[in-house]
Every structure is written in structure tokens, then in C-alpha cells.
Subunit: 233 residues, 3 copies
């Protein structure tokens, strides 16, 4: 049983609203956790998202296996989820486009990560939907790949993503935080963010970066202000 | 002799004005045709183009072969063409820049695809010229590569592009459609587009994606509304 | 001792203010010099920079080597420098982010090149800071790599960058020009720029590209207008 105090889902999401992936990743580093999804890029400039992972996994089909309908898994995805869809790394056909984008927005899904290619990027940008993928390409997944499973653990860029992981995505990429660690990661990330703001302010006041980092304990940026003061007293 | 009814060039281009590469690619899939140019990306956000391919092929030169002038093939390119220029995949020198962009706009050339690198991207963006390439780099092609041939078939990302192919390029990439299939591909793509809009509208009306796709025959989205009604009656 | 007349630093920077990397690279080609940094991309659309290289080199650390503070080299970087930081090509952790961006702007550093990954791209874009890198990723360099040396020669994309090299970076990428050649490269680049503008104007006046390039000696675009006139007379 974890000793970490869990905060509820909505509070976790609200707490991440202004946290970037950089601070969250630094917090995970401080706990020895791995969260970054290497090679997945923001496709809509400025569009970030936060939510719990609904995972989807595709597999290749043999040519001549007959027609396969497109997957309708999105009917089962709850509001505020982040869809994490692995075609595992395949960029020569696409598993996301305008229909899914419209449905996702209608269902208030928070955003989508595609380990593969996405299409209809102009539409996605016009609608401002937070889409993250490895590539852009127009060739359909239909009859090239098929849905293998939903709500199973995935490996993206070498990092594990499990159903229900807290996902945060922005201009620096996407991270996955296991639920059991999410409260503590978010708490530490807020301290990291505060430490970074303090350092920037101190440099603005004339300190060197070395002085500012020493003053604000950049060696342990996840410490709360109180813990830093205790350490100094 | 093809049984497909050919429509004329201007009508084909006009018919593609509001078609995206996604719908055209799905129409090609339904006919067993391959059109996507893998790895070629839109360089000017929002800039799409439609036209018939004028193909250009470069080859490497040996160091010390003496000076070679830049190629002037663009003098022969007709208005409304899409230049498709292969340096085949080489991204360490550039075969497109500001001079060619200015000339292309002056000649009302529709757009350019570079299987290689392009430069002067700021200028190209400022002028809003539809440029698609594999990379961006400033080092000139002069004395590194030379014009090998124009108006010959090319292979780009594994897909054949022949002179006169109908090219459509947008945020999802570039596709090449052989002239003999173009009328039928465009006809089917309009049906695909209509099917997709119907699905989006039905989901907006409260249907699940599964229901909407079944209702609008997403298993055969290229069927006309009339053919779908005949199948239901 | 070089026979080239050196102009002073501020004059060199001012002379590059409106020169793009394409013209400078063509000038370097005419002198047999290599300057392009292959694979380094502009991260902030429209943001270019000019300055003298301050070089930084990172190296990997062994896991379990204990905590290492982030590097504070930026305290020593002079105003108007371009930071050229090599993590050599490694894109799975980042050596640039929001703190360094704020410090760099405060110190009037001209821009930054990262041969590796950078993070906090939304912030960097909002601040309009000229950042160039191989990738975007959020995972910190702390405890993954450490500062190895500053102000040593680097190899980026196969091209040498030495401390004090004149760096120019724009939408086509980044180039490094050795100080001993900088005056002559800049002089020739202005002639290239003039030649290109003359060609564009002549095509606008109705000449073919072939005619315009012949008229304005595109075989030797780095010649001054006077040298071209002497050659014609």
C-alpha cells in the first residue's frame, strides 16, 4: 500500500492545468520515474492537454485478409480522457483524422497521442484540438492495420503507458505518470515550477545564474519553500 | 482503352479545389492504387496546391568536375503545373529557394514538391507559396548535383510519379494520381468526403460513431448516395 | 597571416543583419568553405540571429555517479554571442529550457544552437528567442549528461564550429564562418544577394530565368557589379 496521499481525479487535473511537462519530468526524475514519450511531437502549436490515458493498440493485417471496418473504440472513451493510440511507431498509415477529431471534441475528450501518423492536420489545427503524433501522412489505416486491444499497457518510445496514467502533453512532448505516483509527482512539480520562477526572478534582480540556483536550491528543486527554509535554519 | 470517362484538365483541378488528400487517398485505396509520397511535409502552414506534375530529376556530380550552372528547367514549366523535383531523397543540399519561388509565382505555377531539401523558407512562407519537401537546409545544389532529366517518371517515398499525374498536396502530405484514373478517383473522393461529413453530422445528432458509420456505409464510403440508397432498398 | 582585410565585430554583425544563410552559404561555396550545420532546425518561426560562437560541450555520465548540478556556463557568455551547445546529437534529454532562455534574453545573448533537444518551446516562442535545435523533448539533462568543456571546437552535423566563429541562423538552418574568412564571406554574400535580386527583377521584367541568370552572371554570383561590368567590357 502506498504511503502517498492520493488526491482525486478532478483535483489532479486542475493541479496540472498550469504545469508544463518540463517541471513534471523533473519531479519524476527526482523519484527515479520515467515518463517521457520520445519522438512524439505537438501537431497544433500551443495546444496542450491533461487527462487520464485511454489506451488503444493496433496491429498489422495481412494483405488480402478482406475488408476491416475502422475501429469505433472512441464510443467508449470517457470525457476528459487522453486517447493514447499505438500503431506501434508505424508512420506509413494513419489512425487519426477529421472524423475522430470531431467526435473527440463532441465528447469533450481532452486530447490524443498517436504513436504513428495522423492526417487532416489543417482541420485539427482549425479546431484547436490537442493532437500529438510521430508523423503526418494521409494514407488510411483501414485494411492495413486493425484494432488489437483497448485499455492495455503500451510501450511508446521505450516508456510504459498504462490505462489510467495521468497524461500531460505540451510543446515539449508528452509524459505518462502512473496513478500511484501522480499526487506526489504533481506536488513536487509545483515546487520545481516555484523554484524555477524564483531563479528567473533572482537573475532578473542581478544575481548570476550560479548564485540564483544555489540560493533557490536547484540541486533539489522539488523541495517545498518550507523544507528549503528548514534546511537553511 | 480505359472505360473510365475522362473529364478535362480544368474540370479536374476545379473538382479537387476542396478535396483533401485524405479523401483522395481513401478513394485510391478503394481502387487498389498507391498515391502517397511518404516523408514529404508541408513547409508553409495552410498552403495547399492542385495541378499536373512536371517532373525533374537530379543526380550527384563528382567533386572536381568543374562548374555547373543551376538548372533553368522552370522556363519550360506551364502555368498550373506542380513541379515534382527529385534529388532523390538527398537532404544535404537544396534544389529550391527564393529565385525559383519568385519565378514560379510569376508563372502561376501551382506549387512544388522537393524530394530533398529546400531553402529560404521565410521568404516562401511570406509569399504563401505551396512548398512541400523532405527537409530544410541552406547549402546549394550547385556543383553538388546536376539536372539529369525532366518529364521522366520518378519514385518518391516508394511511390511512382509520372509527368502529367494529378498532384494534390495539403497538411497531410502529397499524393500522385495517374491521369487514366484521375476522373474516377476524384468522383469517389467526393463520395468519401460526403460520407465523412454525413458521419460527423450524425454523431453531432447523437448517434454513436459505430451507428453513424454503419448508417452511412463507412465500409464503402466511395459509394454515391444513390448507390447506398439502392443497396438499402 | 591572412591577406584578407578584417572588419570589426560590430560591423560584421551589422553587415549580416539582412543576409540570409543561403547567400552566405553560396559565398562560402565559392571559397571552398563548409559552414552548414546539417539537421539543426529553427524552433521559433521567423526568429533569426547573428553573433559570435560561444561553444559548450556535454558528455554522458554513468548512472549512479551521484547528483550533478546543472551547468552555469551562461554566466560567462558575453552579450551578442550565439551559444553553440553540443550534447553531441543526443535527443533523449534536453540542455536548454525556460531558465536559460530568460537568462539569455536578460544578458542580450543573440541566440542559441542546441545539437540535441530543447524544452519549454511554448515559452521560447512566446518570448521570441532565436532557438535552433535537432529536436524537442522535456526530459532534463541533469544527471544524464554533464558539462565537459566550454570554448572548445565542436563538430555539428559533420561541420566544425570553433569559439568566435561568426554564426548566422534563420529558417534554412545555421552556418558557422571562421573569423579569418568572415569579412570576405560577408562581402561575397552581399554580391550574391544583389545578383539574386537582379535576377528576380529581370524575370519580373519578362526575361526567362536562363536569360536573367546569364545576364547577371549566376555562374559567379559573388562578383561585384563592377567586376561583372569589367568582365563584360
Amino acid at each position: 500500500m502506498s504511503a502517498v496521499i492520493q488526491i482525486d481525479e478532478q483535483a489532479l487535473i486542475a493541479a496540472c492545468e498550469h504545469l508544463d511537462t518540463a517541471c513534471l519530468s523533473d519531479a519524476m526524475d527526482s523519484m527515479g520515474l520515467d515518463g517521457g514519450l520520445l519522438g512524439i511531437d505537438q501537431q497544433v502549436p500551443g495546444a496542450r492537454c491533461v487527462g487520464f490515458a485511454y489506451t488503444v493498440c493496433y496491429e498489422s493485417v495481412e494483405v488480402g485478409d478482406g475488408f476491416r471496418n475502422a475501429a469505433n473504440y472512441i464510443d467508449d472513451v470517457p470525457a476528459n480522457a487522453v486517447i493514447v493510440s499505438s500503431n506501434p511507431g508505424r508512420t506509413d498509415c494513419t489512425t487519426w483524422g477529421d472524423i475522430l477529431t470531431h467526435v473527440a471534441i463532441g465528447k469533450q475528450i481532452a486530447g490524443t497521442i498517436i504513436d504513428g501518423a495522423a492526417r487532416d492536420i489543417d482541420t485539427v489545427r482549425r479546431l484547436g484540438y490537442p493532437l500529438f503524433s510521430r508523423a503526418r501522412y494521409m494514407k488510411s489505416a483501414k485494411n492495413r492495420v486493425q484494432l488489437k486491444a483497448v485499455q492495455v499497457p503500451l510501450s511508446i518510445g521505450g516508456t510504459r503507458v498504462a490505462p489510467g496514467d495521468l497524461m500531460v502533453c505540451d510543446s515539449s512532448g508528452c509524459i505518462a505518470i502512473a496513478r500511484e505516483h501522480a499526487s506526489e509527482v504533481v506536488r513536487r512539480a509545483h515546487a520545481v515550477e516555484r523554484t524555477e520562477q524564483d531563479i528567473i526572478a533572482s537573475v532578473g534582480d542581478g544575481l548570476s545564474l550560479k548564485q540564483a540556483r544555489a540560493l533557490h536550491r536547484y540541486d533539489q528543486p522539488w523541495l517545498s519553500t518550507e523544507a528549503k527554509q528548514r534546511a537553511l535554519s
